[in-house]
């Protein structure tokens, strides 16, 4: 039987504030356990949470960037459940008046644009971290509350995806939007960006959604894809055997590459949402909303289209340049200084990114400045250095951070365009290669390339190859 796979994703992103959502504890990752805690985030009796304005604005910014309708009146709700990573036994979240609803996101899949609808975007508090001891038979778990109370954004999509390619693109596009709007650092390895998938199958050509299965514990984009492929296979096998799919939550086992039942619908949790009495509602007026709207930069997809049109870049080049905001900003800074978009695109994609990769550098901290790359491109265009030498200068720039002109001067790398000087070298080369000259005169045209090579070798690659060519032809005849 042929089935259609119906996939929806929940995205959790920790927001990039320095303090937690309801208290002044640090959100910094990797601190000593239980050192970023206070009575509020430890849920001690009698304390009152007060909302971090920046966290709220970041969430609002993300909701606007995802084209959501903004609830001008939003409120927070208590989601009750007992779990030891949650010190209050409830999580402050949103349920009745989510910050943003009915949004959508455009994404690129296999060369065309696909839209995924966003069900809602809301703000909540992060839970603490549980550590499970490895010793066999241990009957305890350990808790670190540093993460408890970190502001967490949740983005819930509609089940609008049908293939893993679409899922992959969705995850990449959401990540880029959150990075472009600078509301989250999106470091999956530190858990600041996480995904949960819900998957159901239906017979091709039918409309009714099947029972959906939610999958948790997906630690990387690769796990999300693997888990979806596994789950689609598991469900189609069950359906082929005439069995039904239980609505349930399953946990992905990273090592075994399979999912296991965590709880069924009958055991599903009863969250007993009710308005959080410790927090006051938030009203978003026109002025505030328009300020937030104005703070949203051009988003990746739009920027890519603009790069293709304004700078005549290829689809591929524009994609790579807009992959990371810092890279796209770097490129545009370069073009502002010198109008050579194609040259900058080549240098950034072929050379700069290779250096960043080889040296395992952080993309947000590029080793050269736009002005330096522009200066390099300028001296190549002027003919001060050849493009071969330019590669050496570039590598030196990365290592030392020096200006290209200075490197050229110090190392005597400037291109030789002095015809008299080049002529004297040519004479020397002709004198020691009589047989090659003979060959050339007999019509062996590639002998000329050998002679050019010899001149370049004599001048350590610095002779202007165009002039060398012209002078050689003059000397030995064409």
């Amino acid at each position: 039987m042929e089935y259609e796979v119906v996939i929806g994703l929940e995205t959790h992103a920790e927001l990039a504030t320095i303090a937690k959502l309801f208290c002044g504890c640090s959100t910094k990752f990797g601190a000593e356990p239980n050192t970023h805690v206070c009575p509020i985030c430890l849920g001690m009796p009698g304390v009152l949470p007060v909302m971090n304005k920046k966290a709220f604005e970041y969430a609002l910014k993300a909701a606007v960037a995802l084209d959501c309708e903004i609830n001008r009146f939003t409120n927070f709700d208590r989601k009750s459940y007992y779990y030891p990573d949650l010190p209050k036994n409830y999580q402050i979240s949103q349920n009745y008046y989510n910050l943003g609803i009915d949004g959508h996101m455009d994404m690129f899949v296999n060369g065309s644009i696909k839209m995924v609808r966003i069900h809602n975007v809301h703000l909540e508090e992060e839970a603490g971290k549980l550590i499970h001891p490895e010793e066999p038979g241990a009957n305890y778990s350990l808790v670190d509350f540093n993460r408890a109370g970190v502001p967490l954004l949740e983005i819930v999509s509609y089940p609008d995806m049908r293939t893993v390619d679409e899922v992959e693109s969705y995850m990449q596009t959401v990540r880029k939007i959150l990075l472009y709007t600078e509301v989250s650092d999106c470091k999956m390895q530190e858990g600041s960006l996480r995904f949960e998938a819900s998957i159901s199958l239906r017979k091709k050509g039918t409309d009714k959604l099947g029972n959906r299965v939610e999958i948790k514990n997906l630690n990387s984009m690769k796990s999300v894809i693997k888990a979806i492929e596994y789950e689609a296979m598991r469900q189609s096998e069950l359906l082929d055997r005439g069995e039904t799919i239980d609505r349930e939550t399953r946990l992905w086992d990273e090592v075994g590459e399979k999912s296991q039942r965590m709880r069924s619908k009958e055991e599903s949790q009863d969250y007993r949402y009710f308005p959080e009495p410790d927090l006051l509602p938030v009203l978003i007026d026109e002025k505030w909303l328009s300020e937030v709207k104005n703070s949203i930069p051009e988003l990746p997809l739009a920027r890519k289209q603009r790069f293709i049109e304004a700078f005549k870049l290829s689809d591929y080049d524009a994609s790579i340049l807009t992959e990371e905001k810092v890279l796209a900003d770097f490129f545009e800074e370069c073009v502002k200084i010198l109008d050579r978009p194609k040259a900058f695109s080549n240098w950034i994609i072929n050379d700069l990114l290779r250096e960043v990769k080889d040296r395992k550098l952080d993309i947000s901290n590029l080793p050269i400045k736009p002005g330096q790359l522009a200066a390099l491109v300028e001296i190549i265009e002027k003919g001060t250095i050849s493009s071969t030498i330019a590669k050496e200068v570039f590598s030196e720039m990365i290592q030392t951070g020096k200006e290209p002109q200075k490197i050229v001067e110090e190392k005597g790398m400037a291109q030789i365009s002095d015809e008299g000087l080049i002529e004297s070298v040519i004479d020397k080369v002709i004198a020691v290669n009589p047989s090659v000259i003979e060959d050339y005169k007999k019509g062996k045209k590639n002998a000329l390339a050998f002679l050019v090579g010899q001149v370049m070798k004599e001048t350590k690659g610095k002779a202007n190859p165009k002039i060398v060519n012209e002078l050689l032809i003059q000397k030995v005849g064409s």
Partner: protein, 95 residues
């Protein structure tokens, strides 16, 4: 509204408390009485009244994104029923 034994058991389970049969009987009556009392509100005409999310008529109370000093780990762990090294210790979690 009448609360039955099943509902009491469900609520007790959600609250992670154990009740004896005798206690269940007591709570069936108490909770039923409370709900019947609250049910009087259903008789009021609320047609033109907007749902209220909070009893205080104030909105938009925020703090700035500024760090404040945390408490010491020693203090944080002080009241915990069980600890282990730098951590809170809890019964094994299966999920």
């Amino acid at each position: 509204m009448k609360i039955d034994k099943k509902t009491i058991e469900y609520i007790a389970n959600l609250s992670r408390i154990e009740l004896s049969d005798q206690e269940k009987e007591v709570f069936i009556h108490q909770l039923s009485d409370i709900l019947s009392y609250i049910e009087k509100l259903n008789k009021l005409n609320t047609e033109d009244i907007k749902p209220m999310a909070h009893s205080i008529n104030t909105t938009n109370v925020f703090r700035e994104d500024k760090l404040e000093l945390p408490i010491s780990r020693e203090d944080a762990l002080y009241n915990a029923p069980s600890t282990m090294g730098v951590f809170f210790k809890v019964p094994k979690v299966i999920e």
